[in-house]
């Protein structure tokens, strides 16, 4: 099975200003993301999550080691365009990503740049807008939309380019629960139905719990890597690196400190309630 993303012994430092030394983010990090998988990346502020994301479509290039996207070396200049076509990026703040005055023109911007034929663009734009639930707003002005709506337009713009892989850097940080749910449903559907590889960087533990795999970064290293249940049950580790588990797990953890012996891998409300019920009734 091919790897959508393969990071091999990556090191990266931000360059220093004048004579000051640069800031090292990664010294030696390796990670692979399987084709078609859905991986969440967690980590406290400043741990290197966004720096890593920028390596995935060659916005940043490795200082040492290699990053391969669908087998292509990101430092190979001749492959640069192919790499960027393969990986679409969605950032935290939708205001920085919207370029046109009309929603559908904004979504068309990407495919137009790729030289896609006009009738195909029309189709892709309509499909992309439907997929994010913004079709009825296609003729609106983006600056009059709410934050959540803008973010969905930004995602539509990426979908319209039909990348193999989408990297989302905290796409829901500015959204309300409804907007978050819509964006998460969109991401899950893209992954499940279209087989698009998804890398989701997030601070929301409940979003990470929806992924197939969770990678936790801390100080430029991988602190944990596994299924959501495997990762979130390591509550002490997560606390030590300024993270938390979902409230369901935190509740069981808190009770265990008071003498209960509850399992720490019950992430859903249903499972957690059942475990508590059994413990209290026992």
């Amino acid at each position: 099975m091919s790897k959508a993303i393969s990071v091999e012994h990556l090191s990266y430092s931000y360059p220093g200003v004048d004579d000051t030394p640069g800031v090292a983010v990664f010294e030696d990090i390796s990670l692979t993301v399987e084709d078609g998988s859905f991986v969440a990346v967690l980590g406290s502020n400043g741990c290197g999550k966004s720096t890593l994301a920028k390596q995935f479509n060659a916005i940043l290039l490795p200082c040492g080691g290699k990053v391969y996207i669908c087998g292509m070396d990101t430092s190979d200049e001749e492959r640069l365009i192919a790499v960027r076509r393969s990986v679409g990026m969605v950032f935290q703040n939708p205001d920085n990503q919207i370029v046109a005055n009309v929603v559908e023109e904004d979504v068309a911007f990407g495919p137009e740049n790729l030289g896609v034929a006009s009738p195909v663009i029309r189709q892709r734009v309509d499909n992309a807008l439907r997929q994010v639930g913004m079709y009825e707003y296609r003729e609106h002005a983006p600056h009059l939309l709410s934050g959540g709506q803008k973010q969905r337009v930004a995602i539509a713009g990426i979908i319209a380019m039909e990348p193999k892989c989408i990297v989302l850097d905290e796409p829901t940080a500015m959204l309300d629960p409804q907007g978050r749910k819509e964006v998460m449903d969109t991401i899950l559907a893209l992954n499940a139905q279209k087989g698009i590889t998804v890398v989701l960087i997030t601070h929301h533990m409940d979003e990470a719990a929806m992924a197939q795999r969770v990678v936790v970064l801390s100080n430029g290293r991988i602190a944990a890597d596994g299924t959501p249940a495997e990762v979130f049950s390591q509550v002490d580790l997560l606390h030590s690196i300024r993270l938390a588990s979902p409230e369901t797990v935190e509740l069981c953890y808190e009770l265990n400190r008071k003498g209960f012996s509850l399992p720490l891998d019950k992430l859903s409300v249903e499972e957690c309630a059942q475990a508590l019920y059994d413990a209290i009734k026992a």
């Binding site: 406290s44 502020n45 934050g147 601070h203 993270l243 369901t248 509740l251 008071k258 019920y277």
Partner: protein, 287 residues
Amino acid sequence: MTPFLQVKNLQHIYSTGTPFEHVALEDVSFSVERGEFIGIIGHTGSGKSTLVQHLNGLLKPTAGSVILDGKDIWSDKALTRQCRFKVGLVFQYPEYQLFEETVYKDIAFGPKNMGLDNAEIDRRVRKAAGFVGISEQQLESSPFDLSGGQKRRVAIAGVIAMEPEILILDEPTAGLDPESREEILQNIDAYRKAQNATVMMVSHSMSDVARITQRLLVMNGSHLVMDGTPAEIFNRAQELTDMGLDIPEVTRVFLRLRQMGMDVPNVYTVSDAAQVLFSMKGGRIDA
């Protein structure tokens, strides 16, 4: 006694007379006292941001009034200006508004605009930095060399340095890790207690507002639909869910336990939930 801040039948219509005409606020009334910590919740487009922008005179009501200390803030120009200093507004992602060469200068910008003398500005900058946990050493560094969480603190300090009597924050914890989120909330609460200031916090994070505020205002479809303590508001969990709002996960766990036939109260924080279950076991667990 006149309330400290009073919002009366507030209405706001955007782009009146254009195809984009939109009623953002309709008949919103409430009043606020000194020292209160209030959370404002509601889904995107419910009118939260429009509401808070009225409280320091950034937006002018199309009908109704905002009354601060017994006076309508639009009744004369001097009052409107005064209100912008009395009511400090921290926007979403305030770190994008940092612009000065040093953290110190950035925090000093607001007090300087107020026409204060240098000694007073210096006192306020250091005090504000103290509230948000920015060290003396960091005051001389460039704000652009700081991490996201620290930039957020600097931006909040810039507003706190104006010593507003009402501090309004729009999503102050968005995009921060859980630990930084908790620290910033504690910083804000410390300011509230020290100055007996009113704090109003717009947030989507139900766990944050449940933990730290004493009163919640719920906006839905341009109207203020609920006003009460977190306990009262989260008792109406189903209505909140219907409005597209989320309730804390522990609250949902307890709702489920009740459906399963257990006699548990409403909770909205992990520590309260743990305490309830612990005492149900008689406060003692045999290991």
